[in-house]
C-alpha cells in the first residue's frame, strides 16, 4: 500500500494558492464570537441583578422593611431550649445564631459518626454468608431510603414523645443513664465550681441535674438523620466492596493472607478509593438535612433564623446567614474529605 498523497502533490491538478488568511474581525472568527457571547451573557446577568436589586429596594421602601446588619446587636428576646453555651433572652441576636450554629454542628458531627458506623455494618453485611442477615440489610436499606427524611424525623419525634416515660418517673438504665420525656441523661464532664469534673445525672422534678441531657428533639433529629443516611452509606459501602475484583480476594488467599488480613490489606484500600467521594456527598447531605430540625422545633441555625426573620422581618439577611453557614460547612467538609481522598486515591506514576 502506498502512503497517502500529500496535499499539493495530486497528479494532474496544479497546486492551489493557499486560502487567504482570515481577517481577525469577522463573525466567522470563533474567538470573536466567543467574546461577544460572553459579553452578552454578562450584560444580561448584570441587567437582571440590577433589576432585581432595584425591585428589592423599591419593595422594601414601600413595605417599610429595614435592611442592614445592625439587628445582630439587638436583644433577641426569645429563649432557646438547648444551648451548648450560655444564652439568655436578653442576649443579642448574633449569640442566638452562634447557639444555633453549635446546635447544628452538634447534631451533624454525632450524626456523621453514628451513620458511618451503622452504614458500614449494613453495607458489609450485604456480603455475609448468612442469608437472613443479607435480607435484613437489604430490607433496611430499601425501607429507609424510600421514605422522605422529613416524615422519618416527624415519626421519630412522635414515637419518642409517645413511648418515653414521664419526666417524673424516668427509666433507669445501667451505668447511671436515665431516659424519660425530659430526654436521655448520662454521666459527662461538667464545668462546675471546681473546674471540669465527671458528673452523674440525678432526676430532679421535670429535668435532670448534672451529667449531660440530650433532649427528645435532639434525639429525634439524630435518629432520623442517622437511620436515613446509614441506608445511603450502606449502599455506598456495598458498591465500593463490590467494585473490588473477585480475583483480588482469590490472589490474597493464594498467597496465604488470613481473612482479616485480606480485608485490611487488599479489599479495604481498593474499596476506599471508590467509597470516599460518594461518602463525602452523604456527609454533606446529612449536614444539609439537619436543617429539617426546624420542623420539630430543635433550635438549629435554620430554626433560629426563622424566628429572627419573623421577629425582625430581615428576610434577606437571615437567609444569607443560613446560606453562608451551610456553604462554609459544605466547603470545609469537602476540603477535609478531598484531602483524605488524595491519601487513599490510586497512586500512579
Amino acid at each position: 500500500m502506498s502512503s497517502p498523497p500529500s496535499p499539493g502533490s495530486v497528479v494532474g491538478s496544479p497546486a492551489r494558492k493557499p486560502p487567504p488568511r482570515r481577517r481577525a474581525w469577522t463573525w466567522r472568527n470563533p474567538n470573536l464570537r466567543g467574546w461577544v457571547y460572553q459579553a452578552l451573557a454578562l450584560l444580561v446577568l448584570a441587567g437582571l441583578i440590577g433589576w432585581l436589586a432595584r425591585n428589592t429596594h423599591v419593595n422594601m421602601a414601600a413595605r417599610g422593611i429595614q435592611s442592614g446588619w445592625d439587628f445582630l446587636l439587638q436583644t433577641a428576646g426569645f429563649d432557646i431550649g438547648e444551648r451548648p453555651i450560655s444564652f439568655e433572652s436578653v442576649d443579642p441576636y448574633w449569640r442566638a445564631f452562634l447557639v444555633g450554629l453549635l446546635n447544628t454542628l452538634r447534631v451533624a458531627v454525632v450524626g456523621i459518626v453514628l451513620s458511618t458506623l451503622i452504614g458500614i455494618a449494613l453495607g458489609v453485611s450485604r456480603f455475609s454468608h448468612n442469608a437472613l442477615l443479607r435480607g435484613l440489610s437489604y430490607g433496611y436499606v430499601e425501607t429507609f431510603r424510600n421514605v422522605p427524611i422529613l416524615v422519618q424525623l416527624l415519626l421519630w419525634y412522635v414515637l419518642l414523645l409517645e413511648g418515653l416515660p414521664e419526666a417524673t418517673e424516668p427509666l433507669t438504665l445501667p451505668g447511671g443513664w436515665f431516659l424519660s420525656k425530659a430526654g436521655l441523661a448520662f454521666p459527662w464532664w461538667r464545668n462546675g465550681a471546681e473546674g471540669w469534673q465527671w458528673s452523674l445525672p440525678v432526676p430532679e422534678g421535670f429535668a435532670f441535674e448534672g451529667g449531660l441531657t440530650l433532649s427528645p428533639e435532639y434525639l429525634a433529629v439524630l435518629f432520623g438523620l442517622v437511620f436515613y443516611t446509614a441506608a445511603f452509606i450502606a449502599e455506598v459501602v456495598r458498591g465500593g466492596i463490590a467494585a473490588v475484583p473477585r480475583g483480588q480476594v482469590e490472589a490474597a488467599q493464594s498467597i496465604g493472607l488470613s481473612g482479616a488480613q485480606t480485608t485490611r490489606l487488599v479489599i479495604l484500600p481498593q474499596a476506599l478509593r471508590v467509597i470516599v467521594p460518594p461518602l463525602t456527598n452523604q456527609y454533606l447531605n446529612l449536614t444539609k438535612n439537619s436543617s429539617l430540625a426546624v420542623a420539630i422545633g430543635y433550635p438549629d441555625v435554620v430554626s433560629i433564623a426563622n424566628t429572627t426573620l419573623n421577629q425582625t422581618g430581615r428576610a434577606v439577611e437571615c437567609i444569607a446567614i443560613v446560606m453562608a453557614v451551610y456553604l462554609t460547612t459544605s466547603l470545609a467538609t469537602s476540603a477535609l474529605m478531598n484531602a483524605w481522598n488524595r491519601r487513599v486515591a490510586i497512586k500512579e506514576r
Partner: protein, 367 residues
C-alpha cells in the same frame, strides 16, 4: 488387530441437589458464626414480630371509632384515624364536594407517567399527549372554565400536589440542567464560571433555605405590585434546586462520551449543535439513567419539605388533618406510617423501574 473404538458411556449429569434443607445449611448454618447469627435473628423475630403484628393487625381498630381507639391505646394501632381522615390526608383542603376533580387529575397524571414508562409508547406523540394532559390537569384542579368552580392554589393539597410538584420540577429542571451542564463544559471562561457558581452555590445550601428564599425573598425581588402565587414560587425554587443537581449528573454523562465521537461527528460534517443533539447527548443521557432516576426519587421525596413553608402536600395535609382535630390528634404515628407507605410505594416502584430501564439500555452493549 485394529482397535475398535469403544466409547465410554457418558455419565448422567449430576442430579440437581438443591432443596430447602441444603439451601438452609449453606446460607443459614454455613459456619458457627452464621449459625449464631441465624439463631439470634430468629430469637429477635420471635420476640418482636408477634408484638408488631398484634399492634398493627390483631389488636388494631380499623373503624373510625374514637372510644374504641382510646381503649386500645398502647396495645393496638388506631387505623380508624386514617379511615376517618383519609380524604383530608390524601387530598388536603380541596373543597369536599369537588374532590372528584383532584382524583381524576391525579389519575390522569399517573396514566401519563405510566404510558411514558412503557418502551412501546416512546413516540413523538408523547409530547402533545403530555401538553394536552397537563392542560386538562390544570383545568380540573384550578377550574374557572367549563362550569367548574374556581379553586385557588392555596386549597390544593395532598397527593395531587406532591405528584404535580415532583413532575413539574423534574420536567422543567431537565432542560435547564442540560444547558447548565453544557455551559459548564464550555471553553468560554465567563459562561463556564457562571455555571460553576450556580451549581456549587445551590448544591452547597439545603433545600429548605432555597424554599425560604422562594417564599420570603421572591416577593421582594419582583416588580412592585406583582405577587406571584406561592405555589408557583415554590415550584421555581424546587426547579432551580433540582436543576443544579441534575446538571452535575448530566455533566458526568457528557464526560463519559469519548472524544472520538465528537471528532467523528465533525468529520461527517455535523454542525456543533447537531453534534450535541444527535451524537453526544443521546449517549451522555443514556449513560446516566440510573443516577437520573435516583435524583428523580430524591426530588419526589424532597417535595415533602414544602410543608415547612405552609403548603399542604401529603406530609403537610397529614399534619393539617390530625393536628387540627383534638379528638384524633393522639394517633399521629398511624398517620405517619400511612403516608410512609404511600411514599415508599411510589419511590420503590420508581427504583424498580430504573433497574428495568438500565437493563433495557444495557442490551445494546451486550449483543
Amino acid at each position: 488387530m485394529a482397535a475398535v473404538f469403544d466409547p465410554i458411556i457418558a455419565k448422567p449429569a449430576p442430579a440437581r441437589r438443591s432443596n430447602a434443607w441444603r439451601w438452609a445449611r449453606r446460607h443459614l448454618f454455613g459456619n458457627p458464626a452464621s449459625t449464631l447469627t441465624t439463631l439470634a435473628l430468629l430469637a429477635l423475630a420471635v420476640w418482636l414480630l408477634p408484638q408488631a403484628l398484634s399492634w398493627a393487625f390483631t389488636h388494631a381498630v380499623w373503624r373510625a371509632d374514637e372510644p374504641a381507639c382510646q381503649a386500645a391505646r398502647g396495645s393496638g394501632a388506631c387505623w380508624g384515624a386514617v379511615t376517618e381522615k383519609h380524604r383530608l390526608i390524601v387530598l388536603g383542603r380541596y373543597p369536599f364536594e369537588a374532590q372528584w376533580r383532584p382524583i381524576a387529575a391525579t389519575l390522569l397524571l399517573f396514566a401519563l407517567l405510566m404510558v411514558s414508562c412503557v418502551r412501546a409508547c416512546w413516540h413523538w406523540w408523547l409530547l402533545p399527549a403530555w401538553i394536552a394532559g397537563l392542560a386538562v390537569f390544570f383545568v380540573l384542579m384550578g377550574g374557572g372554565v367549563f362550569g367548574l368552580a374556581r379553586v385557588r392554589t392555596d386549597q390544593w393539597g395532598g397527593l395531587p400536589l406532591t405528584v404535580m410538584l415532583a413532575t413539574f420540577s423534574i420536567a422543567l429542571a431537565f432542560p435547564i440542567s442540560i444547558a447548565v451542564a453544557l455551559g459548564r463544559r464550555s471553553r468560554l471562561p465567563a459562561i463556564s464560571s457562571l455555571c460553576v457558581i450556580y451549581v456549587e452555590l445551590i448544591r452547597g445550601v439545603p433545600l429548605i433555605s432555597v424554599l425560604f428564599m422562594a417564599s420570603f425573598m421572591f416577593p421582594l425581588l419582583l416588580p412592585p405590585g406583582t405577587s406571584p402565587d406561592v405555589l408557583l414560587r415554590v415550584l421555581v425554587g424546587i426547579t432551580l434546586f433540582a436543576a443544579a443537581y441534575m446538571a452535575e449528573i448530566v455533566r458526568a454523562g457528557l464526560q463519559s462520551v469519548p472524544r472520538g465521537q465528537i471528532e467523528a461527528a465533525a468529520a461527517v460534517g455535523l454542525s456543533p449543535w447537531q453534534t450535541q443533539r444527535l451524537v453526544v447527548l443521546p449517549q451522555a443521557l443514556a449513560a446516566v439513567v440510573p443516577s437520573l432516576m435516583n435524583n428523580f426519587i430524591s426530588i419526589f421525596k424532597d417535595t415533602s419539605l414544602i410543608t415547612i413553608v405552609s403548603l399542604y402536600e401529603l406530609t403537610g395535609s397529614l399534619g393539617l388533618a390530625l393536628n387540627g382535630d383534638p379528638l384524633w390528634r393522639p394517633y399521629k404515628i398511624e398517620g405517619y406510617l400511612f403516608i410512609s407507605i404511600i411514599y415508599f410505594g411510589i419511590c420503590f416502584a420508581m427504583s424498580r423501574y430504573s433497574l428495568w430501564v438500565e437493563a433495557q439500555l444495557a442490551r445494546g452493549n451486550r449483543r
